[in-house]
C-alpha cells in the first residue's frame, strides 16, 4: 500500500493533521488528526516503506513487541485505506 498523491502530514498549531492539496481538497471528511505514533507510521509509509517495515520501525522507535507494532500498523493501514487516503 502507499499514501495517495496529494495527501500529506503537516504539523499545524501543535497538531499532526493530514491534509489534501490536490483537486479533492474540498473533501474535508478526509482531513484527519493523528497522534504521535500514527504520525510516525504515516511518515514511514509516506517514504515508501511497506507495512512490515513500518511495523519494525515502530517496534524499534517505541520499544514495543513486534506483534503489537504489527497489529497497530495493520489497524492504521486499514483505516487509511477505508478513508481513501492510501491505495
Amino acid at each position: 500500500m502507499k499514501i495517495k498523491e496529494g495527501y500529506m502530514l503537516k504539523a499545524l498549531a501543535g497538531e499532526n493533521v493530514v491534509i489534501n492539496v490536490g483537486p479533492d481538497s474540498a473533501d474535508f471528511s478526509k482531513m484527519i488528526r493523528l497522534n504521535g505514533t500514527a504520525a510516525f507510521m504515516w511518515r514511514q509509509l509516506e517514504v515508501g516503506k511497506t507495512p512490515e517495515e513500518t511495523a519494525r520501525a515502530v517496534a524499534q522507535e517505541y520499544g514495543i513487541a513486534p506483534e503489537k507494532a504489527e497489529a497497530d500498523v495493520k489497524k492504521f493501514a486499514a483505516e487509511l485505506l477505508e478513508k481513501g487516503l492510501a491505495e
Binding site: 503537516k10 497538531e15 493533521v17 492539496v21 474540498a26
Partner: protein, 291 residues
C-alpha cells in the same frame, strides 16, 4: 494599466473593463514601477483553442489543464463544445492571463464579473505563495483590532459586521465584507483589506493586528464558545481562497492557517439577527482581553 499595491504586493492589471476596476480599486492605486509581483492581463480572440496538458474535467462546461511547465489553465466551453474562456496562471502565480472570445455573450456572467473573479483568484494564489492568505469573511476593525466573521454564504456574516457598526459606530470600521487577507508581518497575524470584496463595495485598505476569528452559524439563542485550533482546521480551511490545483499554493495556505491558529483566538458564535449577538461576542472578547 492599473497599478495596485496591497498586502505588500505590487499588482498590475490590464483588464478589458479598466474603468470599472480603476474606480472599484481606487483605494489601492499605486505608482510603482518595474516588474510587479503579479501581472494579470485580459485578451480578446476570435477563436480559442484549449491548451493541451494533463486534464481534469470538473463539469460538462469546465476543465482544468495543467501544462508541462506547471502552468495551470481553467478552460470553459459552451454546450457546443467550443472553448469560450481560458484562464492561465503561472506556477508561481506571478503572471495570469484571461482569454475571452470576441463577439460572444457569456451565458451566466459578464466579462467584467469573470475578470473580477479570476484576477482575485490569481491574487489569492500569489499571496498564498508569499505565506499569507485570503479567506471568506466579513472583516471589521474594532478598537484597533481586526475581527473576521466567517461562515458559509447566507449565514449572516455581513449582518454581524453591520450590527457592530450600528451598535458601536465610533469604534468599528468595516474593512471588507467578503474576503479579507491575513498577512504575517514580523510573524504577527494581521488583518489586511484587499481590493476584491465580492458583490459588496466595502474594500478598505486598512491593516490591523488580528483580534479574533469568529465562525458563525445560525442559532435560536446567541451563544459563543472558544474553540481549540485542532477543531477549526476543516471549517476554516473551507473558507480559504486558494486554487486547489496549485499544490504549492494550497500547501502554503495550510501553513498560514496553522500560523494564524497558533496566535489568534477562534470562536464559534451561534447568532441571531438581533443586537444581543454582538453584545455577547463583545463581552467574550473583553473577558479574554482581545479588545
Amino acid at each position: 494599466m492599473l497599478k495596485l499595491k496591497c498586502c505588500g504586493l505590487t499588482v498590475d492589471l490590464e483588464l478589458l473593463h479598466g474603468d470599472y476596476f480603476r474606480e472599484r480599486f481606487r483605494e489601492y492605486a499605486d505608482g510603482h514601477s518595474g516588474r510587479p509581483d503579479l501581472i494579470c492581463v485580459s485578451h480578446l480572440a476570435a477563436e480559442l483553442s484549449a491548451p493541451e496538458g494533463k486534464e481534469k474535467r470538473l463539469d460538462p462546461f469546465k476543465k482544468c489543464v495543467t501544462l508541462e511547465d506547471g502552468t495551470i489553465c481553467s478552460v470553459s466551453n459552451n454546450p457546443e463544445g467550443e472553448t469560450t474562456f481560458i484562464f492561465r496562471v503561472s506556477p508561481d502565480a506571478s503572471r495570469a492571463e484571461m482569454w475571452f472570445r470576441e463577439n460572444y455573450t457569456y451565458r451566466y456572467s459578464t466579462r467584467t464579473a469573470i475578470e473580477y473573479r479570476y484576477s482575485c483568484n490569481a491574487f489569492c494564489d500569489r499571496l498564498a505563495l508569499e505565506g499569507d492568505m485570503v479567506l471568506h469573511g466579513a472583516a471589521i476593525g474594532f478598537r484597533g483590532k481586526g475581527v473576521v466573521f466567517s461562515a458559509r454564504p447566507g449565514v449572516g456574516k455581513s449582518t454581524q459586521a453591520s450590527l457592530w457598526e450600528k451598535l458601536w459606530p465610533k469604534e468599528t470600521v468595516k474593512i471588507n465584507e467578503d474576503r479579507p487577507a491575513v498577512c504575517f508581518p514580523g510573524g504577527v497575524p494581521t488583518l489586511c483589506g484587499i481590493p476584491w470584496s465580492g458583490s459588496d463595495p466595502v474594500n478598505r485598505d486598512i491593516s490591523l493586528p488580528m483580534g479574533a476569528l469568529v465562525l458563525i452559524r445560525r442559532g435560536g439563542v446567541p451563544r459563543i464558545e472558544r474553540l481549540r485550533p485542532a477543531d477549526v482546521f476543516a471549517p476554516v480551511y473551507r473558507e480559504l481562497c486558494v486554487s486547489h490545483y496549485n499544490k504549492r499554493a494550497a500547501e502554503a495556505v495550510y501553513d498560514a492557517l496553522g500560523r494564524l491558529l497558533e496566535k489568534t483566538p477562534v470562536y464559534m458564535l451561534d447568532c441571531t439577527m438581533g443586537e444581543e449577538t454582538p453584545r455577547l461576542a463583545l463581552e467574550a472578547f473583553e473577558k479574554d482581553g482581545i479588545v
